[in-house]
């Protein structure tokens, strides 16, 4: 476990040096200290379960992102239109979507993607469900259809094997 912390800390230090561009002793030691601190915090969070394939997830991300950004733009335009509309055609409501078959990282990704698209955001995350607040009935129904969940479950690479 100590090795994992040290690897993460040195990667963070590399990022630090890349971004600051200074190699003075003061800045370097501050970088080492903060790198170790952040690596320890990440370790405490224990986000990485041993059964999770990070590489597969990262390599598949480019297939997901274009679709997701299109979705972000589309929902932005929708919410903007509703705000500018004189009658404010909104119907706020809360609903739950299931996260069955998604592992921890995929659930986090799913919850974050829901929040990143305007019109929906995550209120609460349980073991099996995510509680979502939607600006309109339509966005809630669209989320219930589960297209986004499908694409994220492809990311984690479980549906292919099971």
């Amino acid at each position: 476990m100590l090795i994992r912390i040290l690897i993460a800390a040195s990667l963070l230090l590399l990022l630090w040096v890349l971004l600051s561009g200074h190699l003075g002793i003061l800045l370097l030691s501050l970088g080492i200290a903060s790198g170790l601190l952040v690596a320890w915090l990440i370790h405490r969070l224990a986000l990485q379960k041993p059964n999770f394939n990070t590489l597969y997830f990262s390599l598949n991300l480019p297939r997901f992102l274009p679709w997701f950004f299109l979705e972000v733009v589309r929902s932005n335009l929708d919410v903007s239109w509703r705000i500018l509309h004189p009658k404010l055609p909104i119907s706020p409501n809360t609903s739950t979507v299931s996260t069955s078959k998604l592992n921890d990282v995929a659930t986090t990704t799913y919850a974050n993607c829901i929040t990143l698209t305007p019109g929906t955001y995550t209120l609460n995350v349980d073991d099996q469900t995510i509680e979502v607040h939607s600006l309109t009935q339509e966005t809630a129904e669209k989320l219930q259809q589960g297209k986004m969940k499908e694409r994220i479950s492809v990311l984690q690479g479980r549906l292919n094997t099971s």
Partner: protein, 105 residues
């Protein structure tokens, strides 16, 4: 390139303006968060893309892309923390029978 950059910057500003307008027009806390997330997503993305197309230094471009990535992670986290706290405090208030304060000052 110059024209593209300015179109992106102006569009981003317009979406920030729409988000601010929504922040004032929408009725309560939960719906206002939706307006704020417009500023957070398309507003920030367009303005940062505009800045990326304006700079020539590759290091600056890398830094701007990193800012974009970090915002994509910190934004939802902050929104979730806010919304979750709102839900919890509302539950607490509902269970607290003695206090009969109005919902919002």
């Amino acid at each position: 390139m110059f024209v593209v950059s300015w179109i992106l910057l102006v569009l981003g500003s317009v979406f920030c303006l729409i988000g601010t307008l929504g922040l004032m027009r929408l009725p309560d806390f939960y719906t206002r968060v939706h307006a704020a997330s417009i500023i957070d997503s398309l507003g920030a993305i367009l303005i940062l893309l505009g800045l990326i197309t304006q700079s020539q230094d590759p290091l600056v471009i890398i830094k701007l892309i990193l800012i974009l990535l970090f915002m994509m992670l910190t934004g939802p986290t902050a929104v979730h923390a806010l919304a979750h706290t709102a839900v919890l405090s509302e539950k607490n208030r509902a269970s607290d029978q003695n206090s009969k304060h109005p919902q919002e000052p």
